[in-house]
Symmetry: C2
Subunit: 116 residues, 2 copies
């Protein structure tokens, strides 16, 4: 059995943007925390849904036909196979949940040229 | 695609203790919110891990050989097949994650005689 982990404390200790740190796993899912500013590249995960819970800041999930604006306490699922691009105008901290197997890992980080 | 849901606002609107309300589903998992006071019965889920994230109050997960004390922001997994009994001395609000198929539903609520 794994020890409890405090999510806000773990988020406060993150040094790198868009890099995920695992805080729990259950039923074949990884529960990870990350912080972001700027945006990743446009990408999609064909094999899994991607769930976000916002802890600080504001995250815009850009889709091809609309944007979804997420604030603190919001939970939202990006369905598998849907092109998206998360964008944060201010430093934003969130919990992200997906399958143990990370798909398309490179696509969820910013283009190296665009990093702040 | 489902709309975003605000977790604290949904928790604030709950009227019944130990009754779960679904806020999201992803990859075969249900993400549910609930509030509790007092304790459920001792029970176990043989087919699934049960994950908690605390939003308000303090939740003690009693095991046969120890207690785990969870506070706000803590994430913790009760592994499948392990006997446990959650207990809250004050009103406690939490996110609970498990498989779409709820196992042993009755066991996760208090004995009717013990309800506050």
């Amino acid at each position: 059995m794994h020890d409890k982990v405090n999510i806000p404390a773990t988020l406060a200790g993150l040094s790198e943007f868009w890099s995920q740190q695992t805080v729990a796993h259950a039923n074949g899912q990884l529960f990870k925390v990350a912080k972001g500013i700027g945006s990743t590249r446009w990408h999609q995960h064909d094999d899994q849904d991607e769930l976000f819970v916002i802890y600080q800041g504001q995250l815009t999930i850009q889709f091809q036909d609309r944007n979804v604006e997420l604030g603190v306490g919001d939970i939202f699922v990006v369905p598998r196979g849907v092109q998206h691009c998360p964008k944060a105008d201010v430093e934003t901290q969130f919990l992200i949940v997906g399958l143990n197997i990370t798909s398309n890992a490179a696509g969820g980080k910013p283009d190296p040229m665009q990093q702040p």
